[in-house]
């Protein structure tokens, strides 16, 4: 939860006069405070269950719903431990949390699940980060609108009020650029992660995850129309495994062991939707008030983003050269022109699958 900044200004006036203003300036910065995170040497493979790789924190891109089904499987079935980790802490993300990129750079997490539209600008600013695999082959960003006032494609947004979260600023601007829409033609309304303004008629469209809000709106009796960013010029991957370059350089074996556990977890997740929903509702997302039918629907929709002809052939998390090129083109449209080797290092995943062909299972 965000704290109330206003609280900091109530103080004795004599105190404020001298130090209150100065304290206010520094107060904002404490939010960004970094705590150093240690990591062991991981250049050599660890014996299974040896705990040699210690505990590491993984920053998730969102709250703990089914989006991280594979991580829940890997954690609950002990795949991380078998890979040599003492444990993996899954850190929930969300609207008010610090981004994956900032947490990686600050040493607050060892790896994170992010998106190229967030990682690429950070790399261009000098953050030494790499994407080593992609859970979602297709990004789930969409614009959801009421069935009575439908927005079936980007240009239909012109003249309407669209709710956009500040944290999705990058993909939103990318969508407009990719479709030649002048931002001035649309009324952008700041929203948080609640689609209620759509149901009250305050806005005509809402930037959502196709797996998430459209389903919950339908269940609440609000029939809706959606269009995917991926179908309109932004074929970006999402839920990308992102790490520091130094992790690849210094802890290659450890990172590969982690990726292997990730693949095992997701192989299970896509083949066991009821299990995923139960694990999410009853264990990992217990505090979120999720329900089984909702998470079953979400996990089913999610499979369409994770399991494609390419991942059936090459394995989960992999990206074909064509997909990488498409992503770089889309990023360029979104304002981040970046070279393949600056952003992606898929060699670890290639090695993981080459060393253990049994990871390539029959996917649904």
């Amino acid at each position: 939860m965000p704290s109330t900044p206003a609280a900091s200004v109530i103080g004795r006036r004599s105190f404020l006069r001298w130090s209150g203003l100065a304290a206010g300036a520094v107060g904002g910065a404490t939010l960004l405070a970094a705590c150093g995170g240690g990591s062991d040497a991981g250049s050599a493979p660890a014996a299974p269950g040896s705990n040699a790789y210690g505990r590491e924190a993984i920053q998730l891109s969102w709250i703990k719903n089914t989006e991280f089904a594979g991580e829940y499987m890997a954690d609950s079935r002990g795949y991380y431990r078998e890979a040599g980790f003492e444990g993996i802490d899954l850190l929930a993300g969300g609207s008010a949390s610090t981004g994956v990129e900032a947490n990686l750079v600050s040493g607050n997490c060892w790896a994170g699940l992010s998106a190229p539209a967030l990682t690429a600008p950070a790399v261009l600013q000098g953050a030494p980060l790499k994407i080593v695999g992609a859970t979602y082959q297709k990004n789930p960003f969409c614009i959801v609108s009421g069935a009575g006032n439908p927005i079936p494609e980007p240009r239909a947004m012109i003249g309407k009020r669209i709710g956009v979260q500040d944290s999705n600023d990058q993909v939103w601007n990318g969508l407009l650029r990719a479709n030649g829409i002048d931002p001035a033609q649309i009324t952008r309304v700041p929203v948080q992660f609640d689609a209620a303004p759509l149901t009250t008629g305050e806005i005509d469209g809402y930037l959502a995850y196709i797996t998430n809000e459209p389903n919950s709106l339908t269940r609440r009796g609000f029939p809706n129309t959606t269009f995917l960013f991926a179908d309109h010029g932004l074929p970006l991957v999402a839920e990308t495994v992102t790490v520091l370059q130094e992790t690849i350089d210094n802890e290659r074996a450890k990172l590969k062991a982690f990726l292997r556990a990730e693949v095992r977890g997701w192989n299970d997740a896509v083949r066991d939707i009821p299990g995923v929903a139960r694990l999410t509702v009853e264990t990992y997302g217990r505090d979120l008030g999720l329900d089984i039918p909702g998470q079953v629907k979400e996990a089913t929709d999610q499979n369409a983003l994770v399991v494609t002809d390419d991942t059936r052939a090459n394995g989960l998390f992999t990206m074909t050269d064509v997909l990488v090129e498409e992503n770089l083109r889309a990023l360029s449209l979104a304002g981040s022109t970046i070279a393949r080797e600056q952003l992606f290092d898929l060699s670890l995943l290639t090695e993981v699958y080459a060393e253990d062909p049994s990871l390539r299972v029959a996917l649904p």
């Binding site: 939860m1 965000p2 109330t4 900044p5 206003a6 900091s8 200004v9 109530i10 006036r13 004599s14 404020l16 006069r17 001298w18 130090s19 209150g20 203003l21 100065a22 304290a23 206010g24 300036a25 520094v26 904002g28 910065a29 404490t30 960004l32 405070a33 970094a34 150093g36 981004g99 990129e101 900032a102 750079v105 600050s106 040493g107 967030l118 600008p121 950070a122 600013q125 000098g126 953050a127 500040d166 944290s167 999705n168 600023d169 990058q170 952008r188 309304v189 700041p190 948080q192 009250t200 305050e202």
Partner: protein, 287 residues
């Protein structure tokens, strides 16, 4: 800043140029007042710069995220793109100034009116003060969606959010100021047949001027914070929104520049209110 005390019964009764003080003396006093107010501003700014730099060092914030004063200075003045950067930051600041100004004025006026009513009628104060307290104890982040539902996302909503932040501390300070007027002066008005309203007008309001200014100074950073929050949650414009979108795009320098400029503006306005206060207080002979 001290509240008037009982040993200065003349203060409230004769607002205006104090006896024996010439025009030239006032001008000199005014200059001295400006100097007195500017010295703390310089100290504030120096303290901010030192704390900022030390903070980044002590907590080891990575340079990619934690920008130091020099980085901000460079971004604003020394790069080829600096002119555009300044235009962006100042444009945002202008929006935030308007947003903050509306809430500031609305909050202070409402507080002054409420404080006057409260000192005239104690039962009313006892009935309404808890509501004012309640208004301020609900976190604004939680209240903003309701305010947006009721007032939309325009200047009205911004004004309401700002006013709520400014109102409560101002109200408490002003009620205190109004109540601390000299009892002898009050009795004098009563003896001459003045009622409650005359006592308020002739004694309480003039002697509460220092308290009003205290509230006005405290209200400056409060209004600014209120405006930033309103911009983030309601309007999607100005410095408040810039700080958030800059972080989302990993453009931390933009966030630091926005924070720097807003803080500097806050210090400047705070000092300005202090200068006006000194002049008014000197003019009224209250100091």
């Amino acid at each position: 800043m001290s509240a008037p005390t009982d040993d200065r019964p003349s203060g409230g009764l004769a607002p205006g140029v104090a006896p024996g003080r010439s025009g030239g003396g006032f001008a000199r006093e005014a200059l001295a007042a400006v100097a007195r107010r500017l010295a703390p501003v310089a100290v504030s700014l120096a303290v901010i710069l030192v704390l900022w730099t030390v903070f980044l060092q002590v907590f080891g914030v990575r340079a990619l995220i934690g920008k130091n004063p020099w980085d901000v200075l460079e971004w604003l003045f020394l790069l080829p793109a600096s002119a555009a950067n300044r235009a962006q930051v100042l444009g945002d600041l202008g929006v935030t100034f308007v947003d903050a100004g509306i809430g500031y004025v609305a909050g202070l006026v409402a507080a002054a009116l409420a404080a006057s009513v409260f000192v005239l009628s104690r039962p009313l104060e006892q009935a309404l003060m808890p509501i004012a307290t309640l208004l301020r104890s609900v976190p604004l982040v939680a209240m903003t969606p309701l305010i947006v539902l009721a007032f939309g996302r325009g200047l009205t909503a911004t004004g309401v959010i700002g006013a709520i932040v400014v109102f409560f501390p101002a109200l408490v300070t002003m009620v205190f100021g109004l109540r601390s007027s000299s009892p002898w002066a009050m009795e004098l008005v009563t003896v001459y047949g003045g009622g409650r309203l005359s006592r308020l007008r002739r004694v309480m309001l003039p002697s509460a001027v220092p308290a009003f200014f205290a509230a006005a100074r405290v209200g400056v950073p409060a209004a600014m914070v209120g405006a930033l929050m309103a911009e983030w949650l309601a309007t999607g414009r100005g410095s408040g929104t810039r700080m958030i979108t800059a972080v989302a795009g990993f453009r931390y320098i933009e966030m630091w520049a926005a924070v720097t400029v807003v803080t500097a503006a806050c210090v400047a306005v705070y000092a300005l209110v202090g200068i006006i206060e000194s002049l008014v207080v000197a003019r009224m002979g209250l100091d």
